[in-house]
């Protein structure tokens, strides 16, 4: 579609003034250079710095004494780290799966020529504008075992209703899933809705003429056509899941105990409060590796596709 031209101007008949032309050629690079330098230093340089720290003996402050793989051995022998990884797996799978399921479901409902779409859409999407800390605070109150949902159900006459997930170590991670899904599923809905609107109506019409039922049209034709949206949604949600920090802190503070520890909270506490900076760095490196494994192939294919 787009043509890639290395030098965008061709002016054969103009007087070539070497200085002016030289300036013309370098000025854009001079403008871009500071931003790129900043990214090089503060993203890539800092990542290298963190990687280096993970191979040192740093504890409360960064020291640059070589420690080999010691921090990694220590990281992978921490029960806490396994809790964090297990929680990330539970949270990640449910968060991504439920967000996609609910997002797709609402998008399909919204695509049935709904009259009040302009009112409904913002309602599903507004949580995305809120800070995770606000979301966590609101849900912490909403799920409060004494005064929240449980109490409301009792008042409604359901006396035996119990909902103590927030303070139950076995169930606390699922409250993070609930709040996370509430926040992000509307966004996934918007992605699917945009995808549905992009589908060629002729294909659907042809299937209707052939007598296919609405359900089988969705199952056989429309949902398979949404594959790119599934991929985008997965990438966005997976990378949000790995980075999740604020939500857990605001909702459960990582507790009860360490029941809702995630790699992000692990990294923070080991680095800044438990004085094991090298182990904290090592966990940050693991998080980076996880994200890189998801994002780089995706970005690579997205950037390549444009070329054809």
């Amino acid at each position: 579609m787009t043509t890639i031209e290395p030098v965008p101007f061709v002016e054969p008949q103009r007087r070539s003034r070497s200085f002016a032309d030289g300036l013309r050629n370098t000025l854009p690079k001079i403008v871009l250079a500071p931003s790129f330098a900043v990214i090089l230093v503060f993203v890539y340089g800092f990542i290298l710095w963190t990687i280096y720290l993970s191979f040192t003996t740093s504890r409360i402050m960064p020291v640059y004494k070589w420690g080999g793989f010691d921090a990694y051995f220590r990281l992978w022998s921490q029960p806490n780290w396994y809790v964090a990884m297990q929680n990330l797996a539970i949270f990640g799978v449910l968060y991504i799966g439920i967000c996609i399921a609910i997002g797709l479901f609402i998008a399909i409902l919204m695509d049935q020529r709904i009259r009040a779409e302009g009112v409904l859409r913002p309602i599903f999407l507004y949580p995305m504008a809120l800070s995770f800390v606000v979301t966590g605070t609101a849900w912490k109150w909403f799920l409060n075992p004494g005064l929240g949902l449980e109490n409301t159900m009792h008042n409604l006459g359901w006396e035996s209703f119990r909902f103590d997930w927030l303070v139950n170590p076995k169930m606390a991670i699922y409250t993070v899933v609930i709040a996370g899904v509430w926040q992000a599923s509307g966004f996934v809905m918007a992605m699917f809705l945009a995808g549905l609107r992009g589908i060629d109506g002729e294909i659907v019409k042809a299937a209707q003429i052939d007598g296919a039922s609405t359900i089988s049209i969705y199952r056989r034709i429309i949902i398979p056509l949404l594959r790119p949206v599934f991929l985008s949604a997965f990438i966005v949600l997976a990378h949000m899941a790995i980075k999740s920090y604020d939500l857990v802190i605001a909702l459960t503070g990582g507790g009860p105990g360490n029941a809702t520890e995630l790699p992000s909270t692990f990294m923070y506490s080991y680095t800044f409060t438990r004085n094991q900076m090298n182990v904290g760095s090592a966990s940050a490196v693991m998080m980076l590796m996880g994200i890189t494994a998801i994002i780089v192939p995706y970005l690579y294919s997205e950037l390549r596709e444009r070329k054809q």
Binding site: E5, P6, V7, P8, F9, E11, L27, V31, P34, S35, L40, F42, V43, F46, W49, T50, P62, M110, Q112, I114, L120, P122, I123, F124, L125, Y126, P127, A129, L130, S131, V133, V134, T135, T137, A138, W139, W141, F142, L147, L149, N151, T152, F187, M191, Q208, S232, I235, D246, I249, G253, Y268, T271, A284, M287, L288, I295, L299, Y300, E302, L303
Partner: protein, 293 residues
Amino acid sequence: MSAANETVSAGQARVARYFIYAALIVLALVYLLPLYVMLITSLKSLDEIRGGDMLALPGSPSIAAWVKAWGEACIGVSCVGIKGYFWNSIKMVVPAVLISTLLGALNGYVLTKWRFPGHKLVFGMMLFACFIPFQAVLIPMARLLGLLGLSNSTTGLVMVHVIYGLGFTTLFFRNYYEAFPDELVKAAMIDGAGFFRIFWRILLPSSGPIIVVTIIYQFTNIWNDFLFGISFAGGEGSPMTVALNNLVSSSTGVKEYNVDMAAAVFAALPTLFVYIVAGRYFVRGLMAGAVKG
């Protein structure tokens, strides 16, 4: 209304539509519930909260909790409310949004209209920077801010947000300018217009929508940030989100749920306001950030 009435019986189609509307309305209520509970709790007295039902409307609505959250609530040891932190956030957001948007516009302009060998690699590296887990830069940044004497300062946070926002702002403007006709730029070059003149007179005047998208995206992201705030500005200099978390998670004294909720409303108001006023652009930004072009 529906295309189905000629094939299936109209009655069946109508039942299906009732079901769809019912499902959508129930779902919408579920999405609204936490916000509703947050709002009404902030308008209740503590006695009413303890004795009553979470979903019940306040018997005698009062903004006492709002007043207390704004000016008297205790965050850490000082009981001066959240107003100072609210202003910290404003002082952090405004410059950070403006600087990162301006730089993003210039970067996008260079990366589309003044391409040079390697422009793809440069863009790819800036793009990847959007997605890194910030935990991987946290320790060096804390160290650097300490060395520069910028720990706990708004200036430090502005710097951090500009740096880590550059990837997204550049992405937005690059994708927007990519669709901008090269011919116009070339014609201006032949007329002798220079780099900045072309940007100022030709691209910028038609950049309105993408500027709005970028500003809203950056505003929401930076206002809602928590990780950088808590890592680099823990005390007096902390932004609103950090103060809210400190208020809510403090375990001293009587737990004042109404004040907590009022503070949460204050933290949510600016981004909710922007969302209500310019939701379309907010969604466009989210999508542009998710589906790279």
